[in-house]
Symmetry: C2
Subunit: 204 residues, 2 copies
């Protein structure tokens, strides 16, 4: 859109913005023109917050979650149950589970799922550090909280191979019809599985 | 999404990113996590290009287009026809028309359209400087290139009131069925107007 346009300053900004995920040239241009109309202070805050975040944030050496220190706040928290590890694909999954306030154990962020189609091999993920944690730390339970997709199942199975001999409970997230969800809108596979894996009704 | 999350650095970045137009908290979080995985150099380039753009770019004193100097490249170009002014709403309209390479006159960027519904009055726009330019510069034609909406028409009409007494050609963009467009997909209003305002067929 800006091919004939002479400003290299605007062009640079648009070019950098369009490298963000999901942002094309047009959206980047809209953002850049929006920023041009804002106070200098506001634009400085945006630019500096990004630079500072990248500079000072690291990944936790233990669970690969984001952190401001070598060991993240969850791993370092003495109130968490450090005998349970919840295995997730991504940092956003940690946030989603944390927001439920229902889990008080630790995490392990794989950084992706095994996917031969996308060229993601087990060695590209934080699987070896997970196996190491499970064998060295005093772990009693491993919870698989990966997507219910072919990639998620493959990854679960790959990890399970390593730990099935150990004296550890291995569990995975409950699957079924969503709470508050209407039966007629549930997908067939989920609904079918929900009937097969039905639970005793307790009246509670 | 990040309410229970302890990092103020990440929170700051997400907060600033979510002030961009069309970016919600979730998208901002995706962007921030994406940036965390990039090289420091890459993030610096993004942050610094935004700050520098805002610092060094100004709005042209004559036509209110963006510029790196007091007078923009279009206004300062001696090859442009400086007796024609094309009136547009936004800088992006300048870019769109420039990209056609079909127009060699000057521009005037209003910065919006008159809209009582949105509380935009004529005094909020660069209309007085347009009237001043038309009366002081040696202008022979004014082209209205505003949206064909109620707001666009109102703005055209408001400006026209001031200049209709002057010895100036006033024109507006041709409206009709798009070139390469299929008739059955043209909207009714455009198609109806295209029939009423039909042009002599020249065989060219």
């Amino acid at each position: 859109m800006e091919q004939n346009f002479s400003s290299y300053l605007l062009g640079d900004a648009v070019n950098e913005l369009s490298k963000l995920p999901g942002i094309g040239k047009r959206t980047a241009m809209r953002m850049a023109l929006h920023l041009l109309k804002q106070d200098q202070m506001h634009v400085n805050r945006l630019g500096e917050s990004l630079i500072k975040m990248r500079q000072e944030m690291v990944f936790c050496k233990r669970c690969h979650n984001i952190s401001e220190k070598e060991i993240c706040g969850i791993c370092a928290n003495p109130k968490r149950n450090n005998s349970i590890i919840c295995v997730v694909e991504d940092i956003r999954d940690v946030m989603a589970i944390e927001n439920t306030s229902q889990y008080k154990g630790l995490y392990h962020v794989l950084g992706g799922l095994i996917s031969p189609m996308d060229g993601v091999a087990p060695s590209d993920l934080h699987i070896s550090t997970l196996i190491e944690r499970i064998s060295k730390e005093n772990i009693s339970e491993v919870i698989f909280a990966l997507s219910a997709t072919v990639e998620g199942d493959t990854t679960n199975f790959y990890i399970f191979k390593y730990i099935k001999g150990m004296d550890i409970t291995v569990s995975s997230l409950a699957r079924g019809v969503a709470i508050g969800g209407e039966i007629e809108y549930a997908d067939e596979v989920t609904l079918g599985r929900s009937i097969v894996k039905r639970l005793p009704y307790t009246g509670a």
